[in-house]
């Protein structure tokens, strides 16, 4: 058992120390992931800090972050390992000695290119493995992850099984564009990261954009909350809130009013129809 973190409260404070304000549920899940040696599946709308959570945990714990960015068409050779064909070919051409010896030689560590999953398994130092946007790979590719995530090992036919020296902390993120397989979900702890509450968003803005006056941060959080309640195609994410806060700092704003909000809406909303809807609401609000 790893026992990297002493308590839930410690996780919360530690993450706050690297400017990631986790709520209780988030801290609880990170704590459990460590104690139960289970990967965490983080799901939620885009821009709520899923990837940032993994990065912050790595930064706080001082671990190396290994990242596997998923995309359609991801396969074993990009996720697990690959044999270095060219080097093997050179070895054969330069070859001396009988074939049996040569064969053992070219299928050894030296000719193996580790990809993120194998690298995380073989690491000697503590690592955080981030498998980003796992919903982008096909269902069949998901199966690749299962062996790694439940048994913490990778099978390389020519060499045997490589088992983890230390169990890494694993975060999988998903935007829920499709349902992940039950088998994968069953192996993970599940965390749904939703948009933060007004108070938490205000604190996030203050922590990340300290130049913004405190009273404006509250305003910003409230306006964004109200925008999210509208029926929009793409509600503003936390990262867009931060962009907006930075915009306000650059513009040197000290008071926020409807017309200023309207003229900077394009930082928060990226669909024409959404901007029009929000502008309409702002007009009625006066």
């Amino acid at each position: 058992m790893a026992e990297r973190f002493p308590s839930i409260q410690a996780v919360r404070e530690g993450l706050a120390g690297v400017d990631y304000l986790a709520d209780e549920a988030t801290a609880g899940v990170v704590f459990l992931a460590d104690r139960l040696d289970k990967p965490v599946l983080v799901e939620g709308p885009a821009g709520t800090g899923k990837t940032e959570l993994a990065k912050s945990v790595a930064r706080w714990a001082g671990s190396r972050l290994i990242r596997l960015q998923c995309y359609e068409g991801l396969d074993e050779s990009k996720a697990l390992y690959e044999w270095n064909y060219r080097k093997q070919l050179l070895r054969i051409q330069a070859g001396e000695g009988p074939w049996s010896e040569l064969e053992g030689d070219i299928f050894s560590e030296e000719f193996l290119l580790s990809r993120p999953l194998l690298e995380a398994i073989r690491a000697d130092e503590p690592v955080v493995l981030l498998i980003d946007e796992v919903d982008r790979v096909e269902v069949e590719t998901e199966a690749l992850l299962l062996e790694v995530l439940s048994d913490w090992q990778v099978s390389v036919p020519e060499m045997g099984t490589v088992s983890a020296r230390r169990i890494p902390l694993v975060f999988l993120t998903s935007n829920a564009t499709r349902d992940l397989s039950e088998a994968l979900k069953r192996r993970c702890l599940y965390l749904h990261l939703d948009y933060p509450s007004v108070e938490r968003e205000r604190e996030i803005v203050l922590a990340r954009v300290p130049e913004l006056p405190a009273h404006l941060a509250g305003e910003v959080a409230r306006i964004v909350r109200s925008l999210r309640l509208l029926d929009l195609r793409k509600p503003p994410s936390v990262s867009e809130t931060l962009d907006w806060a930075r915009t306000l700092v650059v513009l040197g704003v000290s008071e926020l009013d409807a017309s200023l909000t309207e003229s900077t809406l394009h930082v928060l909303l990226k669909h024409r129809a959404d901007i029009a809807a929000a502008a309409r609401e702002l007009k009625t609000a006066g």
């Binding site: 899940v29 704590f31 993970c188």
Partner: protein
Amino acid sequence: MLAVLAAFVGELRAAGLPVSLTENIDAMDAVRHVPLDDRSALRAAMAATMVKRPEHRPAFDAVFDSFFSLAPATVDDDGSDLSALLEDALQSGDADAVQRLARLAVARLAGMEEGRGVRGSAYVFKTMRMLDVDGALARLLAGAGWLERDGLTLAAQCLRNEVEAEVRRRLVAERGPEAVARSVRRPLPEDVDFLHASGDDLAALQRTLRPLARRMAARLARRRRHGRHGRLDFRRTLRRSLSAGGVPADPRFRRPRPHKPEIVVLADVSGSVATFARFTLQLVHALAGEFSAVRTFVFIDGIDEVTHLLAGADDLAAALTRVHEEADVVAADGHSDYGRALTAFWARWGREITPRTSVVILGDARNNYHATGAEVLADLRRRARRLWWLNPEPRSYWDTGDSIVAEYARHCHGVFECRNLRQLEAFVAQIG
């Protein structure tokens, strides 16, 4: 503790949550690591191990609150004026103020007595009405701007939740967790029956619809891309063969481009099945990008095309309300008449149905004993690519009374029972 957990998991499963054995074991394991007196940590631990879909979270919370409720708090009633407290709490939105108000209000107004077999919701209703939350909210909303409005509405929602929690707390102390959990059990959003959904259920359904549509669109698009190999791509095969000394060792194929289906929806929008039609139309239109064309017709006993009202509408819910107001769907008496509607459709738009068109008819096939018009369906089937019928009634009700599903089913490629979102999703998944 083990016994409590076992009962808890049993109740979760009864509420429809798919908790597997491994997840159950994980939960037991997780509970060992969190301090048991920390209720929110316990909740987080259990949710993380057993609830793997955000839509299931409310159901989980309801069960959790029944099983691991706090002992009813004793509030020191200092006789303060509730309506003043109410205004303060709504305006500030402060969680502590809201909680204190909820406790006071339940203690003073709900009139809970031991041994009365009254449902919890009745106490909640009584408290909220005696407190006149709606009245106070309306007064405050009248003088509020856009931002304050949202704050007030959320605070009122918060208050309602707190009152519910307080009532539940008192009931649990009296009746035990299992009984209370059973009495507050509600179907999961995907299992809500379209025909008998309450207002809250419908709101929950509405919220799941957009993510569902996004997931389905991704699935349809993905399946189209990952079809079989297409024809041999001669140019690329030849190019690849150069690296193998001219031997075409690695044949390349063209991507198959199956055409997107063209969908025509005929929806019965008479009172009995209107909700069903509404959700199905919303889903189909949210998926419009995955079809080469979507045309929508609504009928009761007359039929009218409403594609122009729905296409490109940003707010589909509002557009659907307009459909009800503007579409010319009543020809005679305003009771469903499938025969008349189908005949009218065939006469006016029949020629526009082509072998690329898939036709979906939504309705309960309760024809009020009018002529069936089934021969129109036979013609329709001959001309269209596919003809499907979705019926929101339970299968056991089919062909009872004035329902004539079997009559129409003979002419369809398939008739599907579509009582909830789960079944609707399964249907849409197979038409892409």
